[in-house]
Amino acid sequence: MNGWTGKMLRVNLGKGTVKTEEINPKTMKDFIGGRGVGSRLLYDEVDAKADPLSPKNKLIFAAGPLTGTSASAAGRYMVLAKSPLTDTIACSNSGGHFGPEMKFAGWDMIVFEGKAASPAYLWVHNGKAELRSARKLWGMKTNETDAALREATDPDARIASIGPAGENRVRFACVVNDLHRAAGRSGVGAVMGSKNLKAVVVRGTGGVTVADGAGFRKECLKVLKMLKDHPVTGQALPAYGTGVLVNIVNESGLLPTRNFQEGMFAKASQTGGEALAEKYLIRKKACFGCPMACGRVTEVKGGAFAGRGEGPEYESTWALGACCGVGDLAAIAKANYLSNEYGFDPISAGVTVACAMELFQKKHITEKETGMKMAFGDAGAMVRAMEMLARREGFGDILAEGSYRMAERFGHAELSMSVKKQEFPAYDGRGAKGIALNFATSNRGACHVRGYMISPEILGVPEKLDPLTTKDKATWDIALQNLTAAVDSSGLCLFTIFGIGAPEISALLARATGAAYTEQSMLKAGERVWNLERLFNLKAGFTARDDTLPPRLLKEKLPKGAAKDQVVELDVMLPEYYSLRGWDPKGVPTNKKLSELGLK
């Protein structure tokens, strides 16, 4: 096969067996790969009402047909499961080099079922795979795990692992690969921990082939040039990393501050990518095959927050910074290093801590519950809370449940800034109605990368939309969500779509796989994936009532800045969204739509 390897590993952790299976070629063609094929398997094999932390859940590592090829930024893979944070379908994307290594070893997908009797890791060397004891590794941080496993297997192996947070089933624990890259959101790391699976180790000395070598090469050079010529992918991201967004978003009045009480942060510029470049950046680093090199190798030398690693990215910078009222970049960097080492999502962690800070501010909780002062702006408290939640120590045991369960416990669920119990990322929907609609409708809870409306609404890419209107936002959202689903299934990094689009991506897919992808058929596949995810969530018990936003975004006006006095008019946008998606007014895909997509 070309692009795809056509093969998956099925690992039954309970029985300790490993089996090779062929993936249905029609499934690959119709769902592309990665997110699409993984979601198809989840839908078909996992009871949507299952307890995500029970052995009935499945954990899937899925690369795309382009993963491991010379297409720009073609290093991505997905980790899928039913989420213990949201109870929706979870599909978490990561970069680095793990995905390509899976492909070089000959695998499109690795599926884990059941639960191991004791801590285990999977060692995959080309066509051979075996489960080994991880007893000695349990309790280790991800960086310690990485070093230990390289010694035990192969110095060039690539490793995806959980840290103490995943072992402790922190609801937003993540899977870390290549030391500093992560399948970050929705608690896929907790699912891995619940299965007693410590790590997946892969070494592959084979390779990936493409159907039309000359045609693919030509497309790759064209795409490379487009990305290098574009200001976002060719200049901003390489120079300042994702942190370049801090000042832009703050000046546009939608940088959520102190748990979304405001949209602008006075200390924002002290935490942005420019400040990082000045103070702590050592050099930039790329994922596999990527010309953008947005990765930041950083170090905080000395002081209370000394540490080294990669990041912080824009999202972590905000969640651990402005969202908590913290303007100390060293503290933010330290908290981010901890999130990689312990293996948890810094977005959910930061927003959960911010929620705790507001509960504390309003005296709904006191030091009696928290054991410490939790005031907005307290950098030391924010950093301390990170380790506490990873270890589930003291108040950390409550923080580890995420902002919704915590706020609900203390009688104020409305103070959890989340959708479907997944914490918002770094954009206040009141300042950009399109991203707000995306937050409400995303299949995995609040998520910016499901349909990154910030690109047109704030960055003006591909064209500038007025962020404050609701006009046409449903149309734009749907188009972006469908395109994104296709990109996530292909193995390309989402950042490529700043500079290239469906024509180039479908061409890459066609030349690589030999399958007759057109722009339309690729976008249709994306739409198919989106609808399938929706069907899973409906089976899990979600309804239109869950496509909503916290009362703060619907009713409280932003106090100042470019989006002053704004709220989100979701009641205007949502019906149009359902209608344009071909769903009924209750947000259920109609039979007509399902037949059209081949999902009936």
Binding site: G68, G206, G207, L224, R283, K285, G289
Partner: protein, 159 residues
């Protein structure tokens, strides 16, 4: 005029594109294990660098080869491998001081970088310009200028 692939470690981001386009060109698959160039990504002290054959004069690999399979082109200086003459004895792998001669198990013979005959694929695809194919007497100029700028900074009289 001898040419070389100059590797600027400061520009390298560790993306490994050089490896996979090399293997694709010569072996029809994206496979770092089969590449003639290797990208090193060191995380302990962040440093990224690619290594391939340096096309030496009196190349140790050519000197040691028992079947005279390695010869130097008098114009370009490139050390060419005559595959049909290679017996797979692997002596050249040990003779090369840089370790850039590699063995291919699927052919039983060695392989080495030959600058793709004059249009190196890795250079064409390197996204940051960390790999440059240039006349050898022009190499190093960039680094000299960079260092001269440091001297300039150290002697600066303006505040």
């Amino acid at each position: 005029m001898k040419k070389m692939i100059e590797v600027n470690e400061e520009k390298c981001t560790g993306c490994r594109m050089c490896e996979i386009v090399c293997s694709q060109k010569h072996h029809g698959r994206f496979s770092p294990s089969m590449a003639r160039i290797q990208n090193f990504i060191f995380d302990d002290e962040p440093f990224y660098f690619s290594l391939c054959c340096q096309q030496c004069d009196d190349a140790p690999c050519a000197v040691v080869c028992p079947s005279s399979a390695l010869t130097q082109d008098p114009d370009t200086g490139i050390i060419n491998l005559k595959e049909s003459a290679c017996t797979g004895c692997k002596m050249c792998i040990m003779a090369c001081p840089f370790g850039t001669m590699t063995f291919l198990s699927h052919t039983g013979k060695v392989q080495k970088c030959d600058y793709c005959g004059g249009e190196p694929e890795c250079v064409a695809f390197c996204p940051t310009g960390a790999l440059e194919y240039k006349e050898a007497d022009l190499a190093g100029a960039g680094r000299r200028a960079q260092f001269a700028r440091k001297m300039q900074k150290s002697q600066s009289v303006s505040s």
